[in-house]
């Protein structure tokens, strides 16, 4: 067959328009086109990302189903869900601060990998504070305690939520005690159990607890959450201190301190010796009085 072919007819190797530098140039331009189109697609996709994220999460019927579908790759599937969960959390943190599917995502994750204690830790704290669902967070941690009976981290988180959010000091103390008896438990847990038992709900204790949480994790998102909570705590403390001083002033002088934008009320409190110094507003806002109540100009959304 080959002998019938004349060299002129046959398309030889390495000749024609594909032989020189032209294909390389065209390929580079092709990838430049791909890059530009992907940029446009990313821009077009941002507006519908929320709907997409919700649909994606709703697409997982349950962790049990995903567990079966993942066959022997449950660990890998859990890692992918973890990345998706962080992405979902980060997106809502930067946009509407609504986390309706957060619990669902972490439930899928821990069904796939019940020993993923980092997921219980991060999931419970974000559920309790960011999503404002402390009871859902506790249910989630109860599942975690069943799956990880020897872990101190899970009962510790349950105690932390009981102490800080629910103000249920007895329950918090029980959880801290359980956690302190686990192998390799954090040495400060016994102290936390004692604090909870003494029902100490002051700002200093809360600050110390948050700082302990900060030191205990390598999770950047969790550290950011702690920083926000510390700023909130500072604001609450400053507001409470000013409120006490205003009340004291009112009882003594039978009037409220004068308050205006040019001369805020705390200068009169400072001058009369009701406060030692003007407390900082951690978000850069200004304290003002409204019907005897101390408020700040920082909008609540900025403080969440």
């Amino acid at each position: 067959m080959l002998t019938e072919v004349t060299p002129r007819q046959r398309a030889p190797r390495g000749t024609g328009p594909l032989a020189g530098i032209l294909p390389a140039v065209l390929i580079v331009w092709g990838f430049v086109g791909v890059y530009l189109l992907q940029l446009s697609l990313d821009r077009a996709g941002d507006s519908r990302m929320r709907e997409k994220a919700i649909a994606e999460m709703a697409y997982f019927p349950s962790g049990r189903f995903v567990r079966q579908a993942a066959i022997e790759y449950q660990g890998l599937a859990a890692d992918i869900v973890w990345l998706r969960g962080i992405q979902y959390y980060g997106y809502h943190l930067m946009s509407d601060r609504k986390y309706e599917w957060l619990g669902h995502v972490f439930s899928i994750l821990t069904s796939l990998d019940p020993r993923f204690t980092g997921a219980y830790h991060f999931g419970a704290i974000t559920l309790a504070w960011d999503a404002d669902k402390p009871h859902e967070a506790l249910d989630f941690l109860t599942t975690g305690m069943k799956a990880n009976p020897m872990s101190w981290q899970v009962p510790f988180d349950a105690g932390f939520i009981c102490y800080m959010v629910l103000r249920d000091y007895d329950r918090a103390s029980t959880y801290f005690e359980v956690a302190s008896k686990m192998p390799n438990a954090w040495f400060i847990l016994a102290r936390w159990a004692a604090i909870a038992k003494a029902k100490a709900g002051d700002f200093q204790t809360a600050r110390e607890m948050w700082l302990d949480i900060f030191k205990s994790t390598e999770n950047r998102k969790l550290k950011e959450l702690v920083v926000r909570q510390l700023a909130n705590l500072k604001l609450e403390e400053a507001t409470a201190r000013l409120q006490d001083a205003v009340q004291e002033f009112q009882e003594d002088k039978k009037r409220l301190p004068a308050d205006s934008e040019e001369h805020p009320f705390y200068y009169e409190l400072l001058g009369a010796g009701y406060i030692e110094r003007v407390p900082d507003e951690p978000y850069g806002g200004r304290f003002y009085l409204k019907d005897g109540k101390v408020l700040t100009t920082t909008p609540p959304r900025q403080r969440e």
Binding site: L2, L26, G30, F31, V34
Partner: protein, 255 residues
């Protein structure tokens, strides 16, 4: 030129249609969609959603398998059976051969998509769910995805064995659906090297999640026609670039 490309494409189409793998996969896809009737009682209250999901996923999955399994050996088969010598002895340029092979395989995939979609709509009608034309948008974006994936399969077929080619193409398919995580990694990583590498891979690898609109279609969520148009353009440019690479690689091969 068109006649030569058409000749190769027609030959590839005829050959592939006779392929047992193709017929088996189409039959399997129809069976999976038909099995919706069996699982219907288990989907308490969510029958319509489950059946729509199952059908669209089966269409995508089986077409992807056809693309990987048939596409992965499309050029290699010609070399192995030595029919490549007959082909190249004719006044067919090498890039025309690659383009013809690709278009022939795409024609097979279009036929498979049409058969499976028709079966899907028949099943939806039989189940009384209603055959909304809206669902066809998901089939259209699946076609865009197949265009890229087939080009990837043809590229690997020019220099690797069918099994290696299929494994590579499947890896591209898998990674192509996870590229969003590469972007996330790039955004979150403190290391500039990881950042640059992740962004480079994100834009270099085919982003197949651009074509996954199944969830939106099933939930009846609003879709952006501009984004669909852009994804079609993306598929076209990516496919053309891959075919150019395939033709260049094939042009430099010694037979």
């Amino acid at each position: 030129m068109i006649d030569r490309v058409y000749g190769v494409a027609l030959n590839t189409f005829r050959e592939s249609i006779r392929d047992k793998v193709l017929v088996t996969l189409i039959i399997f896809a129809v069976l999976v969609m038909g099995s919706a009737r069996v699982i219907q009682p288990l989907a308490v209250g969510e029958e319509a959603k489950v059946i729509k999901d199952l059908g669209l996923s089966a269409i995508t999955l089986f077409c992807v398998l056809i693309s990987i399994l048939v596409g992965g050996r499309i050029v290699y088969k010609e070399v192995e059976k030595r029919t490549i010598y007959i082909m190249l002895a004719k006044p067919v340029r090498r890039w025309e051969f690659i383009l013809g092979k690709y278009l022939g395989l795409m024609a097979v995939l279009v036929v498979s998509l049409v058969v499976m979609t028709a079966a899907y709509y028949v099943i939806l009608l039989i189940m009384g769910i209603g055959a909304q034309l809206y669902l066809l948008l998901a089939v259209l974006t699946t076609f865009f995805q197949l265009a890229i994936l087939t080009a990837v399969a043809v590229l690997f077929s020019t220099f690797s064995t069918p099994i290696t080619g299929a494994v590579f193409t499947f890896a591209v398919y898998f990674v192509g659906h996870l590229t969003r995580d590469l972007k996330l990694l790039a955004a979150m990583s403190p290391s500039p090297v990881v950042k640059v590498a992740s962004y480079l891979l994100y834009y270099l690898l085919p982003n197949l999640s651009n074509f996954n609109i199944r969830a939106e279609v099933v939930y009846g969520a609003p879709l952006d026609p501009y984004a669909i148009l852009l994804s079609g353009l993306y598929a076209l440019v990516y496919t053309a670039t891959l075919l150019l690479i395939s033709a260049t690689v094939f042009n430099r091969k010694e037979f």
